[in-house]
Symmetry: C2
Subunit: 350 residues, 2 copies
C-alpha cells in the first residue's frame, strides 16, 4: 500500500504541533509526497519538522499531481479543524483525494466536507472516530508476553518515537517485538491500534487492555504512552492506559529544557525523580513494574547541553539516558532486552 | 417540579446495582411514586434498596396511573439496556410517560424506542448523553471557594450520598454549600452536573473544571467523586476528576468488609492507609490537598461490627470515621467545617 500522502501543516509547521506530519515523515517516508504549507513553499520538510529530509514543502495541491491522500498533519489541543484549512480540504476532495485525519473534530461529521467527498466518491478516514464500549476486566493476560510501556513527563515529548525505535531495535535483534499504537499518529504509521484519548472515559482502560489481548502472541509489546500523570488536562488518559496495559516495565521520556506543562505554562512539571516515583507508584498497585531507562528528547538544547544533561540525569537516576534520535536507540534497546532475557518479570504476576 | 417517577429495577433490586433508584428514593422521595419489579410486587422499597421506606414495589405500570416518568433505576457495568426491559419501556411510552435514563446505551439512540416516543410525543432524557469538548486549563479558579472532593476505595461505596449529606449538613449550619454532581444519579437528583464517565477521555478533566468554574460563587463545593484510583477499569476517570476539580480537601469513603474490587473480584483493594496515601499523592502534585475524614459504608456488616471497624480505622488513621446513614453526618460535617473556618486552605494556591 502506498497512500501517496500530502501532509497539511499550514500555519503549524513545527515538530510539536505538527507531530502527526513529523511522525509520518519519519516512519512512512516512502508514502510522503510533500508537505503543504503556503507560507513556506519551496523549502524542505527537515527545515521545519525535524524529519522528512528533502521532502518538498509545496504551496498548492497541483504541485503534487500524483498525491492520493491529504493528511491533517497536526494534533492541536482540543483537536479542531483550523478555519483556514476548509478551502484546502474542499480542493483536495475536488481533486479526487482521500482525507486522513486524527483531529477530535471529525471531518466525516462536517456536512459540507462529507457531502463533497460523497459527491466526488473519495474517502474520509477519521482515525479517532470509534464506538469502543468494553470495560477493562484484567483477565486473560498472557504472562509470557513482556509488556513495556513508554511514559513521559509531558505530552508531545516523543513516546511514539521511542516506542517505534525500541520495537525496530528489538526486531533487529531477532526478538518478536510489536508496536501498539494508542494515538492518532501511531495508528496512521502502524495501521493498527485505538485512539485512547478519544474513547468514552469509562472504556479507555478497556481499550488499552484489548490492544494487549489482541497482540500478546508476540514476545514483547511496546505500548505507546499518552500524556502524563501530572498533566492537568490529560492525566486520566495516562492512568487509564497505564492500568489497562499493566506493564511489566516502563521507559520514561522527558524533553530536556522543558520545566512547565506544554500549553499550560503556569503549571510546573515535577523533576524526573518525582516523575519516576509517581509512575512506579501508580503502575505497581497490583503487581511490580520497574523503570528500565530514560529517553531524552534533546530538540530544545544543543548537543553539548544535551550531553551534560544526559550525564547528570544518568548519575541521579542510575539508569541509561538515551536520546534515541541523536545517539540511536541501541543502549535503551539493550536495557529493555537484557531485562527481558533475565526473566524476573515472569514472576511479577500476570 | 414533580417528575412522578416509577423506578425500574426489575431483576436488579439491590442497593448496589440499583443505586440510581436508591439515590432517588433517598433524596427525591416526594417524586418517587413506585418501584417497578414484577418479581417483588407487593413489597416495600426499603426491603430491597436500603431506602424509600414504604414506597410500593409494583408489578405493572397500570398500578401507578399518576406516574409521568419511567426511570432506568440501575447503573450496570458497561451501562446497557437489559433485554427484558424493552417491553416495559414501550408500554411506558405507550402510556404517555417520559423516559429518564443514565445508561451508557442511549435510549434516544434506539430506533424502536425513539420512534415510539416521537410518535406518542413523550420525551427521552439520557443524562449521560453529551457533546462536551473543552480541555482543562487550570485557570480562573476562585481561591476563596473551598473545594471538597469525596473519593473512595472502590465504585458504588456511597460518594454521592456522603457528598449530599455533607452539603445538607453544611447548609443546615448556614454555610453556602453546593453539591456538584458528576454521575448519572447525582445529576438526576440535583438537576445539574456532567456525566464524567461518559465524556470523551481528553475532556473529562475539562468537564470537572467547568463544573467548578460554574459553581464557585458558592462558599463551599462538594464535588462528588467517581470510581477509585486503584480500579482497573475506571481509575482514569477518578484521576481526571481529581485533577480537574483540584480539591483543597478530601473525604475518603470505604465500604466495611469490602476487600476486592467490585465486579473484578480477583483484584484486591489496598488498605485504607495506602488508599489515603495514593489519593493524597495524586491530589497534591501541584498544591496541597488534605484528607479531613473517613466515611464508612456499613451496609455489609452488623452495627456491632461497624462500631468495632470504625474504632479501629479511627485509631489507625487519626481521622473521624463516620457512617453517615447510621450515625448521621454531623461529625464529618464538623471536620469539614472546622477546616474551612480555620482557613489554612486559603494558602494552598488556587
Amino acid at each position: 500500500m502506498n497512500r501517496k500522502m500530502v501532509l497539511l501543516t499550514w500555519g503549524y509547521s513545527n515538530p510539536r504541533t505538527a507531530k502527526t506530519a513529523a511522525g509520518l515523515l519519519r516512519y512512512c517516508p516512502e508514502e510522503c509526497v510533500a508537505v503543504l504549507d503556503p507560507d513556506n513553499a519551496g523549502r524542505k520538510a527537515r527545515e521545519f519538522l525535524d524529519a522528512g529530509g528533502d521532502t518538498p514543502i509545496i504551496g498548492r495541491l497541483d504541485e503534487a499531481p500524483s498525491a492520493k491522500t491529504l493528511v491533517m498533519g497536526i494534533a492541536p489541543p482540543g483537536g479542531r479543524i483550523p478555519d483556514a484549512w476548509r478551502a484546502v480540504l474542499l480542493e483536495a476532495i475536488d481533486r479526487g483525494m482521500n482525507i486522513l485525519s486524527g483531529l477530535h473534530d471529525f471531518i466525516s461529521n462536517d456536512p459540507q466536507l462529507a457531502a463533497a467527498a460523497a459527491a466526488r466518491g473519495t474517502r474520509i478516514t477519521d482515525v479517532r472516530k470509534n464506538d469502543f464500549r468494553e470495560i477493562a476486566r484484567r483477565q486473560g493476560l498472557n504472562p509470557n508476553c513482556f509488556r513495556v510501556h513508554t511514559v513521559g513527563h509531558d505530552c508531545s515529548v516523543g513516546k511514539m518515537v521511542v516506542s517505534l525505535e525500541l520495537t525496530n531495535g528489538l526486531k533487529a535483534r531477532g526478538v518478536d517485538a510489536h508496536f501498539v499504537a494508542t494515538g492518532q499518529t501511531g495508528i496512521m504509521v502502524s495501521g493498527g491500534g485505538l485512539p485512547l484519548d478519544c474513547i468514552v472515559a469509562d472504556f479507555v482502560a478497556g481499550a488499552a487492555e484489548q490492544l494487549v489481548l489482541e497482540n500478546q502472541h508476540h514476545e514483547v509489546l511496546l505500548v505507546e504512552g499518552q500524556g502524563s500523570l501530572v498533566h492537568p488536562s490529560y492525566s486520566g488518559v495516562t492512568l487509564s492506559l497505564l492500568h489497562g496495559c499493566l506493564p511489566h516495565a516502563m521507559v520514561l521520556i522527558f524533553e530536556a529544557g522543558r520545566s512547565t506543562v506544554g500549553g499550560i505554562d503556569h503549571v510546573p512539571i515535577p523533576n524526573l525523580v518525582r516523575m519516576r516515583e509517581l509512575f512506579e507508584t501508580m503502575a505497581s498497585i497490583h503487581q511490580p513494574c520497574v523503570t528500565l531507562g530514560i529517553a531524552m528528547n534533546g530538540r530544545r538544547v544543543t548537543p553539548t547541553e544535551a550531553a551534560e544533561i544526559s550525564r547528570q540525569v544518568e548519575d541521579e537516576m542510575q539508569l541509561p539516558v538515551v536520546d534515541v534520535l541523536r545517539e540511536g536507540p541501541e543502549r535503551l534497546v539493550e536495557a529493555v532486552d537484557a531485562f527481558r532475557r533475565a526473566g524476573e518479570w515472569r514472576k511479577f504476576g500476570m
